[in-house]
């Protein structure tokens, strides 16, 4: 499997179960920022509050902010730009997601949310 495919696969699996998050590519699937929220919440539910009402740019921004402040992953992406661009910058997304992978891979993701069958909704917004 190619590096990109592997990373995408990882994202897909990690984001499974989160409403309105569907990873089918490394660009538009990440555009609204929900995927990043899901990734963070999957591994660190303490850092990400689900169910917040929010405008799209802010959703992404909150994930970027949390990742930077709590995980030390600098925001390579700009939330406003993400939304403004029809297709976000793939290289940036790849690089940014790889940082998430670096951070979370090998740590125990929180399984509790998905195992009880309830699909956690990031968009009870």
């Amino acid at each position: 499997m190619s590096a990109v495919k592997a990373l995408q696969q990882w994202c897909r699996i990690r984001c499974e179960g989160y409403r309105d998050v569907s990873i089918t590519n490394m660009t538009t699937s990440f555009r609204d920022g929900l995927a990043f929220c899901a990734l963070i919440h999957r591994h660190r539910p303490d850092l990400m509050t689900l169910g917040l009402v929010s405008l799209l740019p802010l959703v992404a921004a909150s994930a970027f902010g949390v990742a930077e402040a709590e995980l030390g992953i600098p925001a390579l992406l700009d939330a406003e730009d993400m939304v403004a661009m029809k297709v976000p910058d793939r290289l940036s997304i790849l690089t940014y997601v790889s940082q998430y992978y670096n951070y979370f891979h090998g740590r125990n993701p929180s399984e509790c949310l998905v195992s009880d069958g309830v699909s956690p909704g990031l968009t009870s917004f």
Partner: protein, 290 residues
């Protein structure tokens, strides 16, 4: 910390008679010799650097050296008098020789070396920055998926290498901090020992207060050292995890038939990565490696 070891050593050195034959370090002339008159008076039993010149060298695990005592509100009036050589009057109280031990880890790095390596690392990081810019350009101009795959491997490898250097920088900063704390600890312990050498019944109010201060400071120093050690451990763990990523990335096979994303203004991705993980950031903020 190996304070227990030293305490035991101190006990070994305790002699009932005159303390002139304290088995002290045969260490080379002490680079930290501050030539502070008052301090030499404190060094009742300890062999300071200067005094070594006139003594026959002895073997000892301790490395005493003249240092200024950590700041105290006022000098105690009851400092043990400096003995005349070679016979020394016994230390007041218990006859414990007042040796300042060196609190040092095995991997001591002189400050100049730290600075040297840091600037070297900076240069290497600049080079990588350059390579990153070129690589990024290639990636964005890349016409086909096969080339992109290769370039991406290079890209992630470069990022990983950069992480390693930044981590090394962080390690050096930690080391510098540790060593600084170790010096302070030696000073505080030494002053405490001077104080404790005095029989408690003779303690003044000032002595009691000073002892409290010193103990508190000692605890703080040790806590800070522990925190640094913990941070270093965490960083090392992350490094291992990143290595796994590299493995996974390099184990790829097959093609990636993705559609290329739209072109975007060059944002110098690698450069952005370098705005984090500044050494010295606390764990709660950015502690990631570039």
């Amino acid at each position: 910390t190996n304070s227990t070891d030293t305490t035991e050593q101190s006990k070994e050195l305790d002699q009932s008679g005159p303390v002139e034959e304290t088995p002290c370090s045969s260490s080379p002339p002490n680079p930290f010799d501050d030539s502070d008159e008052e301090d030499e008076e404190e060094e009742e039993g300890g062999e300071g650097g200067k005094e070594d010149e006139t003594q026959t060298p002895r073997i000892c695990k301790e490395n005493p050296f003249n240092r200024k005592a950590s700041p105290s509100p006022s000098k105690s009036k009851t400092k043990p008098p400096k003995g005349s050589r070679p016979a020394r009057p016994p230390a007041p109280g218990h006859g414990f020789p007042l040796i300042k031990r060196k609190v040092q880890s095995d991997q001591f790095i002189p400050v100049e070396d730290i600075h040297g390596e840091m600037s070297q690392l900076e240069k290497q990081l600049d080079d990588m920055e350059q390579r990153g810019v070129e690589l990024e350009k290639k990636l964005r101009d890349c016409p086909n998926d096969e080339d992109e795959e290769h370039l991406l491997v290079d890209w992630f490898t470069l990022i990983h290498e950069k992480h390693l250097l930044v981590r090394r920088e962080a390690e050096l900063v930690y080391t510098a901090k540790q060593q600084n704390l170790e010096e302070r600890q030696a000073d505080v312990e030494y002053e405490l020992r001077c104080l404790l050498n005095k029989p408690e019944k003779d303690w003044t109010e000032e002595d009691k207060n000073r002892e409290q201060e010193l103990m508190a400071e000692l605890v703080t120093i040790i806590e800070q050292r522990n925190q640094i050690v913990n941070n270093m451990d965490q960083d090392r763990q992350r490094e291992e995890e990143e290595d796994k990523l590299m493995e996974a990335m390099l184990k790829k096979k097959g093609q990636n038939h993705r559609k290329k994303g739209a072109k975007f203004k060059p944002i110098k991705v690698l450069k952005r990565l370098s705005h984090k993980g500044e050494p010295g950031h606390s764990r709660s903020s950015s502690r990631e490696k570039s």
